[in-house]
């Protein structure tokens, strides 16, 4: 059993190296985009399809949920796209990581450490590149929306403030906090999903039948919880960033 923190290289497009996690991210994107296109096609003022009912229920449910957290429908609809996309993307890629074949279908690759097994698919969030990218996008979005909501100088004033020494140091701490946000965002998700992958691999290695089932259920739950946590934290940061005082 070989466990690698880094995602395995699968093939290259020019000089660009495609890893198995990037492949899974594309698949997850494909699933979501396909769903969006299907919904877009069947959308009618009076719902005629289950797909539309499902999409309406999901979208309205998500907006209402966000509304209950931020207080106004307007803000909820403003924050909704980025929060919901984070949630659905993380959820779908986490759950796709539990599919049979993910982590088991692959090929043997010669590396400097000798011949190692490289799975073709690996859960997208078990790669720090993915989670860090999500974290950067999420934090960047909070700043963009913060600037859009209260103006550049007011927003920057939360971090760089020379009006008095206390606020100056608070601003420095806030800056450090922004970096810590990204790190905690990315390593929380990465740690949970990577650990889950390893857990499933180990259990399946020890007892191949029946025994992994509870752990699969557990991973479904963890996948959902991590998606929810990532999305809700993003929502909280968005709310804080767009507020005048914090």
């Amino acid at each position: 059993m070989h466990i690698s923190l880094a995602a395995e290289h699968i093939f290259s497009i020019g000089v660009f190296s495609v890893t198995n996690t990037l492949l899974m991210a594309w698949l997850a994107m494909g699933v979501l985009i396909a769903f969006a296109l299907v919904v877009h096609r069947v959308l009618k003022p009076l719902p005629e399809s289950g797909v539309q009912n499902f999409a309406e229920a999901v979208v309205d449910g998500a907006v209402s949920f966000i509304e209950s957290a931020v207080g106004s429908r307007k803000d909820a609809e403003r924050f909704f796209p980025v929060v919901a996309t984070i949630f659905f993307f993380v959820l779908v890629s986490n759950w796709m990581g539990i599919f049979p074949g993910v982590g088991s279908i692959g090929f043997h690759e010669a590396t400097e450490h000798g011949e190692v097994f490289a799975p073709l698919f690996r859960s997208a969030n078990s790669d720090v590149n993915m989670t860090l990218a999500l974290a950067i996008v999420a934090v960047a979005t909070t700043h963009i929306m913060g600037v859009a909501a209260i103006g550049f100088f007011k927003h920057a004033g939360k971090f760089i403030n020379f009006s008095n020494p206390i606020l100056f140091f608070v601003g420095l701490l806030e800056l450090v906090g922004e970096v810590a946000k990204m790190v905690s965002f990315s390593f929380r998700l990465f740690g949970n999903i990577f650990a889950g992958e390893i857990l499933l691999t180990v259990i399946a290695f020890l007892v191949p039948y029946i025994a992994p089932l509870p752990f699969l259920g557990l991973e479904l739950f963890v996948g959902f919880m991590q998606a929810l946590v990532f999305a809700m934290l993003t929502l909280v940061f968005l709310t804080i960033a767009t507020a005048e005082h914090h």
Binding site: A6, A7, M29, A36, F89
Partner: protein, 166 residues
């Protein structure tokens, strides 16, 4: 640090690729899923609100129409009653008039008949008087046999007739 980054497999190119992936996904979902569905939901909410308002308006109008209809009905009923009353009175008056006319006519006829009878009677009496006069005259002629002058004789007869008439 670079050791850690290497071990974690952090690769700037992959990082950027994943970030771009996410942004593209966000944009596509917003364009094809969130936007249209939210728009649809908002429109539906507005439609329902408008429908409810319209229903309220229609109900109100219906109530007004109902009230107006009831008032109209009441008015028409009263009018009809008045008309019927008038017609009844007119009919009654006409009937009385007819009866009066008829009674008058009958009275007229009776009077006429009485008058006729009276005339007839007078005529008969006259005739009878004449006849009696002639008869008396004749009898007297026979009895007296030209013993009296003619004018005195007639005077007698007339006197007799007059007395008879009485």
């Amino acid at each position: 640090m670079s050791e850690l980054i290497h071990k974690l497999g952090i690769d700037w190119k992959l990082l950027i690729a994943q970030a771009v992936n996410f942004v593209v996904l966000l944009w596509l979902l917003k364009k094809f899923l969130y936007g249209p569905v939210l728009e649809l939901l908002r429109k539906r909410r507005e439609d329902i609100k408008e429908g409810a308002q319209n229903a309220e308006k229609i109900a109100q109008e219906l109530r007004q129409i109902e009230q107006r209809r009831a008032a109209e009905l009441e008015r028409v009923k009263k009018e009809a009653e008045i008309i019927i009353q008038e017609a009844k009175q007119a009919a009654k008056a006409r009937g009385e008039e007819l009866i009066n006319q008829t009674e008058a006519k009958i009275a007229g006829l009776i009077a006429e008949a009485k008058r006729h009878l009276e005339e007839e009677r007078i005529k008969m009496m006259d005739q009878a008087g004449k006849d009696v006069k002639e008869l008396v005259f004749m009898v007297a002629e026979k009895v007296l046999e030209e013993q009296l002058p003619k004018d005195i004789h007639e005077k007698f007869v007339e006197e007799a007739v007059r007395r008879l008439k009485k």
